[in-house]
Amino acid sequence: MPYIPHTSEDVRAMLDRIGVKAIDDLFDEIPKALRVDSLPGVPAALSEMEVARLVAMRAATDGRPLNFIGAGAYEHHIPAPVWALTTRGEIYSAYTPYQAEASQGTLQIMYEFQSMIAGLTAMDVSNASLYDGASALAEACLMAVRAHRRSKSARILVPTTVNPTWRRVASVITEGQGLVLEELPYSTDQGTTIPQALARYDGQDITALVIQQPNFFGQLEDVDALSRWARANGTLIIAVVNPVSLALLAPPGEWGDAGADIACGEAQPLGVPLSSGGPYVGFMTTRTEHVRQMPGRIAGRTVDLDGKPGFTLTLQAREQHIRRGKATSNICTNQGLLMTAATIHLALLGPVGLERVASACVARTRELVSALCGIPGVRAAFAGPRFHEAVLLLDRPAAPLLESLAAEGIIGGYDLSRNFPELGPALLICATETRTTEDIATYARALDRLLGRAVAA
């Protein structure tokens, strides 16, 4: 899409045509009290040269730390073509042009993204992405309430093992619409949701059950048992999954006897670099029977007047510009640029490549856990299978240790004490395919030294 600027004459002509004196007058409806005239602490405009220098200096203070933190955002190798292609002028835009006559390429990328995500999750249909994983979970909860017409309670069970940040986001987004998110306890021995804890909800009107696999601790939930309970209780199943893990784990479409109803998650691990708070990219898939309740855009494949294949948005009657206040969501857009990166990333890796990445993640995490648990004062919190994260219990608070590690250029993990105080001093660690044996040894040596003891080996 070309950028076409307006000249001051253009602007004047447009304002004259609509009878307005100045652009500022167009914002009259915003009360004066809510306007910000100055930004204290923010300097006046800088030149491009000054901005480039300032930003480069700030970026340099990040250093190049050795990263062992996951907790919802994951460092993976991104093949060079992913961003070389994604930043090409044809697709590098903050705006996604959806008009079929102008955007066959963009629409085809959306279609390919949907096809791959639907395939990975083993679900019927995917949308063209959402803002991020956390808001995708919120949207999935709202969607479940719309889709489950017999259920009147709007009660949704959310295990404590679901990402705590995502739980908070889902709760903030949904509470205004009367949803009740209820927490389900987990076993502090296993680090997984206790299927028996569902018994107290037997026969109750529960709209949906959320299941995160692997869960926030990296442990594998008994998704089949949880799904069977939900199905038997007339409760919809919302799966929250890491797309990389799906190269190894059973996809949501195959959970229990009939599969999940909605699957969602964060596609950041597919080609999107770690960045302070994002932007990231959410995804969502569902069964055909619920498609009209699914929020967001969907690109479809069709034929034009001459019978040639082409792509266009479809099922738009669910959306804001047509259904106004009754639309499936007030976010009727997608995360176009990152969706493009994820599509190219997946296409480059292919099924075999993705499986190799996932297997390497599992192997590296096993190696990391074993190296760190060899240090006195450190032990693994949970037995049982896991993907690429693990919880370590420490003999002292994690925060000061993490600070010392950071001073040595090591990001040692995610301190669980704030969100999971019941575990005591605990650290969530992660190793993807990007961590080498030497990286792991570096971390183990540093931690061992900080804990004040000699290496056991």
């Binding site: 017409r149 017999r150 009209r292 009657a317 669910r318 047509i322 259904r323 009754k326």
Partner: protein, 130 residues
């Protein structure tokens, strides 16, 4: 010209009502409404047992270009939604006053002040709307 059977009552929002012999009421959308919407691709009908007040949105008819709510002209309890529409929404296009019925309800007498028109008045309404 659209068909407007003389034995039905109509609303300004293009629903029709038929009183069945047992006193229950059948509701659908008019021939004019289906023609204006174009080919229907999806119809969401209410569940049996749902209680409706006059003026409640009780169904959604979706065509390739728009999705519109169907409003219940009177209050009552839904006896049945037309489940055939789930797989054959086009029944409304083909036979809006017959096989394309949307729901049946047991009225509670709540008229909600909604003005019900006879065929002549509805025909005038449609003609005036152009």
């Amino acid at each position: 010209m659209s068909k407007i059977p003389g034995d039905l009552r109509y609303t300004k929002s293009h629903e029709w009502l038929r009183t069945l012999p047992d006193g229950s009421i059948e509701i659908g959308i008019s021939d004019h409404a289906q023609a204006a919407l174009g080919d229907l691709v999806f119809v969401e009908v209410p569940e049996a047992g749902r209680t409706l007040s006059a003026g409640d949105a009780c169904a959604v008819v979706e065509s390739v270009k728009a999705a519109s709510d169907v409003y219940s002209p009177v209050g009552g309890e839904v006896i049945a939604g037309n489940d055939q529409l789930a797989t054959k929404p086009e029944l409304i296009n083909a036979d809006p006053y017959g096989q394309g019925w949307i729901l049946r309800m047991r009225p509670t007498g709540d008229r909600g002040g909604a003005e019900l028109l006879d065929a002549t008045a509805y025909a005038a309404e449609v003609a005036a709307a152009g």
